[in-house]
Each structure stands twice: as C-alpha cells, then as structure tokens.
C-alpha cells in the first residue's frame, strides 16, 4: 500500500522533472544570439532532411486525401442535389482540420522519429559528450538547427498538403464526376475566408510543428543511451506527438471556431 503511494509520488516527480528538463532544454537551445555564419549551413542541411525529404509523403497523402474527400463528399451531397458545394467541403475540411493534423501526424512519423533516433544514437555513441569536451555546445550545434528546421518546415508542408489536396478534390469532382468547375472554385472562394480559415489553419500547423519537433528532439536528447532506450524514445516520440497533436487540435478548434 505504502509502496504504491510512494511509487505514484515518484512517477509524478519524474514526470514533473522531465517536463521541467524539456522546458529548460528548449529555452537553452533557442535563446541566445544565432550565429549566422556557422548556423545557416546546419539549418539548411536540416531543412533538407526534415522538410524536402518529407515532401514526397506529404504530396502523395495530400493528393489521395483530397481525392477521397471529393469522392465521399460527392456521394453524400448528390442526395441533396448540392454537389456544387463539394469545393467548399473539400477546401474547408482540408484547410481547417485535415491539412494541419494529417501533416503533423505524418511529420511525427516521418521526421520526428528520425530526429529522435539520430539524436539518441549520437547520445549513445557519446558524440554529444565529446562535443561538450571540445567546447562545442551540442544544444546549439545539434539541437537548435533541428528545432528551427522543424518549426519552419511544418507550416510549409501543411500548406503544400492543403493545396495538393484541394487540387486532388478538383481532379475527382470536376474531371471525373463532372461537377462544373466554375461552381467548384467560386463556391469555394465565397465560403473560405483567408483571415479566418487559412490563417487559423496556418496557426494550427505552426503550433503542431513546434510541439512535434520539440517532443522529437527532447526524446532523443533525453533517451537512455542504449539500443532499447533509443527504440523506446522513438516510440514515445510518435505516440506523444500524435496524442499532443490530436488533443491540441481539439483545443485550438474550440478556441478558433467554437465561438468563444
């Protein structure tokens, strides 16, 4: 009995300390004067491996999700004779919800897990500590470029996802099912408001990018430096990121579109 209480307490303390460590970790890696000369090429390299290499999966999933939305939406809307609104449905679904959320989930799986594994292995092979020995701060040298690359890539990927998805929806609805393409676009333009829908979607993706990258990098940096530790950290990255994204999405949607 007493043991279980002590256990619970220890768990709570561990949880608190890891939250604290992750906050300190974030502020230590981001605060400070950025060194443009040395930092910029590092950031480029990370933007390439996080952003550019994620492009393929984002474009392909965006296309298929847009096409499925077009197909499903058409079958539902045709019952009410309002298949002209299919553009509105596809665009609002993608821009408000699916774009940021699915991109974040794919991002966590594709880039987040890779980040965790890479940093975890650096820790396990003591590259991070040898950097410290040489007087190079690993937080600035290794972590900061990855964090920034994640923050920058995620909104861009999400916008590409939305654009491709809307185009995919057009492909199915207009080219295949024969919705008039004028009504596809004009109804969409009448219903989608830039400052509400698209900007809110971008805000969501910025928040998700921040959370996913933070979780991924922190899990890698904080992992137990063994093979099991790295694998557990990678799993945690994907699980925590997905849960955080879905939970935050609900909160953000409630704040943005819930009407309070």
């Amino acid at each position: 009995m007493l043991d279980s209480v002590a256990n619970l307490g220890r768990r709570a303390m561990n949880f608190m300390s890891s939250v604290g460590r992750s906050g300190l970790f974030l502020s230590n890696s981001l605060v400070g004067v950025p060194q443009l000369r040395t930092g910029f090429p590092l950031l480029m390299k990370q933007l390439y491996s996080i952003g550019v290499l994620s492009l393929a999966i984002i474009v392909v999933s965006g296309l298929f999700i847009g096409m499925v939305l077009g197909l499903q939406g058409y079958n539902i809307l045709i019952d009410y004779g309002s298949q002209q609104s299919i553009g509105v449905m596809v665009a609002l679904t993608l821009v408000r919800e699916l774009g940021p959320v699915v991109t974040a989930l794919l991002f966590a799986g594709r880039a987040g897990s890779a980040l965790t594994a890479e940093i975890g292995l650096m820790k396990a092979t003591e590259q991070l500590s040898s950097m410290e020995m040489m007087g190079v701060d690993p937080l600035r040298r290794v972590i900061a470029p990855r964090l920034w690359a994640g923050f920058i890539s995620m909104p861009i990927l999400s916008m590409i996802f939305c654009a491709v998805g809307i185009w995919g929806g057009m492909l199915v609805a207009v080219k295949w099912l024969g919705v008039y393409d004028g009504s596809y676009w004009t109804n969409m333009q009448a219903a989608v408001v830039f400052s509400d829908d698209i900007v809110n979607g971008i805000i969501k993706s910025v928040v998700f990018g921040f959370v996913c990258t933070w979780i991924a990098v922190y899990q890698g940096y904080d992992c137990v430096p063994t093979s099991e530790g790295i694998s557990a950290a990678t799993t945690k990255t994907v699980v925590f990121s997905s849960l955080a994204v879905l939970g935050l999405d609900f909160i953000l949607t409630a704040v943005m579109f819930g009407g309070f």
Binding site: P41, M44, K45, V52, V95, I156, M159, I166, W185, V192
Partner: protein, 150 residues
C-alpha cells in the same frame, strides 16, 4: 550531398511552400490584393433582425455595396440598430430608400437589401434609413396562418 545542391533543393521547397500559400489565398479564398474599400456608415432601426449577422452583406439591386458593421439593441425604442459600412463609391443612395432584410435562397443567410427611393437628396455618413422592413419570420407567418389571423 554537396552543400549547393542542398541549398537549391531547400530553396525550391520554400518556393513551393510560398506558391501553395498564394494558391490558397488567391484561388481558394478568393483574396484580392487591392486594399479594402473605403466605407462610410449608415444606420437602420429594425423591429426584428431575425438572424442577420455582423459581416453579412448589404446589397443594392443584388450587387454587394457594403457589409454589416455592428448590431446593437436600442434601449429606448427596443429596436435593433444595425450599422452598415457602405463603400465610398456608392455615395448616391436617395434619402427615402428603404432597408429590407432578405434571405438568400430559401434557407440561406440573411442580408440587407436596399430598395432605392426617388428623392433627389442623397444619404450622408451617419444618416438613418427613414423606413425599414424587418426580416420575414417564417415561423411567425405560419403561426399566424395556423391561428387564422390575417
């Protein structure tokens, strides 16, 4: 991979991102680049606005000429005071025009339609419409039919 190739690919990635944003802004939300039009305010008191909303449109002959700025309750007369932002370019609304609340389609949104009068004088900023027609309330209408009222 060489640094230069990486830079070029990242640049391309950024440009594709910007292009997507432009596509979302222009093609999807129909955002126009020109600055929002200058407006002046007109007011109208309605007995019942029946679901008219802020940012709804104000139209004349079906053409949008402004939007609803604010809706407040007049505490003295118990009427709804609707503030409309009308485009500066439409500065010749006769003073005896009537503001009518209409519905787009059968179940669509409510908007204010301005039925043009014949006066030679035009309304200025801050003027009130001298006559208004409230929203057609379908439920009330059916209710009065059912009760046998005229």
């Amino acid at each position: 991979m060489r640094q230069r190739t990486v830079e070029i690919l990242v640049g391309l990635f950024m440009i594709v991102g910007m292009a997507s944003l432009a596509f979302l802004a222009i093609q999807v939300s129909g955002l126009s680049i020109q600055a929002p039009e200058q407006t002046y305010k007109l007011y109208a008191d309605f007995n019942d606005i029946g679901g008219l909303q802020v940012r709804g449109k104000v139209s004349l002959a079906g053409v949008t000429i402004g939007r609803i700025g604010a809706i407040t309750l007049d505490r003295k007369t118990y009427q709804a005071k609707v503030e409309m932002d009308i485009y500066r370019s439409v500065d010749n609304i006769p003073t005896d025009s009537i503001a009518v609340i209409r519905t787009a389609g059968l179940l669509g949104e409510k908007y204010v339609d301005i039925s043009v009068g014949a006066d030679t004088k035009n309304m200025k900023a801050g003027d009130y419409f001298y006559s208004t027609q409230s929203a057609l309330n379908l439920e009330k209408l059916i209710g009065s039919f059912a009760a046998g009222n005229k």
